[in-house]
Amino acid sequence: MGINWFKYSSPQAFHPLAGKMIPWFSVAAGLLIIIGLYIGFFVAPTDFQQGDSYRIIFVHVPAAWMSMFLYVIMAAWAGVGLGLNARPSFMMAQAIAPTGAMFTFIALLTGAMWGKPTWGAWWVWDARLTSELILLFQYIGIILLRAAIDDLRRADRASAVLALVGVVNVPIIYFSVRWWNTLHQGASVSMTASPKMATTMLTAMLIMTVGFWMYSFAVTLARVRCVILDRERQPMWGNQTSIQEVAEAR
């Protein structure tokens, strides 16, 4: 008989736990982003080539990274959900999608804002840019597919399959600058080579990135709580009173 202990890991127990974690992540996110912005705007020097337009990097790069990370994490939860038939991991995947889509949108928009002064065009059909746009479409597709299916079980699993299939795009985005001759900048932070950027710039960017991480944790957990409540309201998990207690025990 299949072992399904994940199925019994109770969302009811998770709801208050998430409630306790959210404030910490929120505070961390706020602090880190403020520090990052301070270093970015007041400590980091003006770039001698791009002038001050380069400061877009402090949102562009963290957002672009988050868009890819979140996709991978979402797909991982989806995979776990499919493999172990675990409802909570589907909920995590569901909760991550909108935030991922938002960061993708931000990466695209800030990229366009950066492209106009540096390349002279809002948009070019370059491999990195196009693949990032595709990522946005993928997020939207996953969200819409879920919205189009009434049956929760099917909605969970169908969007999980779609999320897993779409993972191929992430390495394409990441390596597009290396594989193709693109207008877009190559990686300036890498494990092997020493950073090419000014250290203050790099520091600000990394702090912003960690801040965005914290933000994503907080928002995702909060959304998972909504998802749990939405699903529990339907009488499938029975026991209505305990749900209300859980909701109030925030």
Binding site: M1, G2, D150, D151, Q234, P235, M236
Partner: protein
């Protein structure tokens, strides 16, 4: 031998049945009864492995069908509410292809015999199934039973829209299958004219 162990099933938010443990021994028929919407179809699909149970398991010869997978599929025939035949192909083509897909003999002679056994006259064999009447379509679907050497049959309201003659043919076929040690699970609102000792009843209630 087919066994269910504490089977629980639900659709959407509704639990349909729970804790169903039955055993279908060779040579016996399990008649699943119940009102409309009580979960007969869901139960049958679960026994086939098309639907996964919320809890419990279905065992074939003592092994979980989720482990057996294709090996289990090779033991069974399922005929649901939908006939599973192609409207644009003729009855002959339909049966020939599904016999081929089942890995059995699919010579024209055998296919013709099966269609005749279920009471479809020669003239209908080469019409597109689309133009046949409701009952004739059902007969085409049921003709697969006459070709089968598989032990386990799942029939979802097989008698619906059959006339009395066709119903007799089907009953006879069920009897001979049981006589050969086959097993049948059937859902129906009608009485089945078979010796009572070979029939086991399961009633689902809402």
């Amino acid at each position: 031998m087919l066994q269910t162990v504490a089977l629980r099933g639900s659709r959407g938010q509704r639990q349909l049945f729970s804790d169903i443990s039955v055993t279908v021994k060779p040579g016996t028929l399990l008649a699943v009864a119940g009102e409309n919407g009580s979960g007969k179809t869901s139960f049958l699909r679960m026994l086939c492995g098309l639907l996964s149970p919320d809890d419990g398991a279905v065992l074939w010869q003592g092994k979980d069908i989720r482990q057996l997978k294709e090996l289990y599929c090779a033991q069974l025939i399922y005929i649901g509410h939908l006939n599973g035949i192609k409207d644009d192909l003729t009855p002959t083509e339909n049966i020939k292809i599904s016999a081929g897909l089942a890995g059995g003999d699919s010579s024209s002679e055998i296919v013709r015999k099966a269609l005749e056994a279920v009471g479809l006259g020669r003239s209908t064999h080469t019409l597109p199934t689309r133009v046949l009447s409701q009952g004739q379509k059902r007969r085409v679907a049921l003709a697969r039973l006459w070709l089968s050497t598989r032990p386990l049959w799942f029939l979802d309201e097989p008698f619906a829209s059959l006339d009395t003659l066709a119903a007799t043919y089907l009953t006879q076929r069920l009897q001979s299958h049981l006589g050969n040690g086959g097993m049948v699970v059937v859902s129906t609102h009608q009485e089945i004219a078979l010796p009572t000792d070979s029939i086991q009843h399961l009633r689902l209630s809402r």
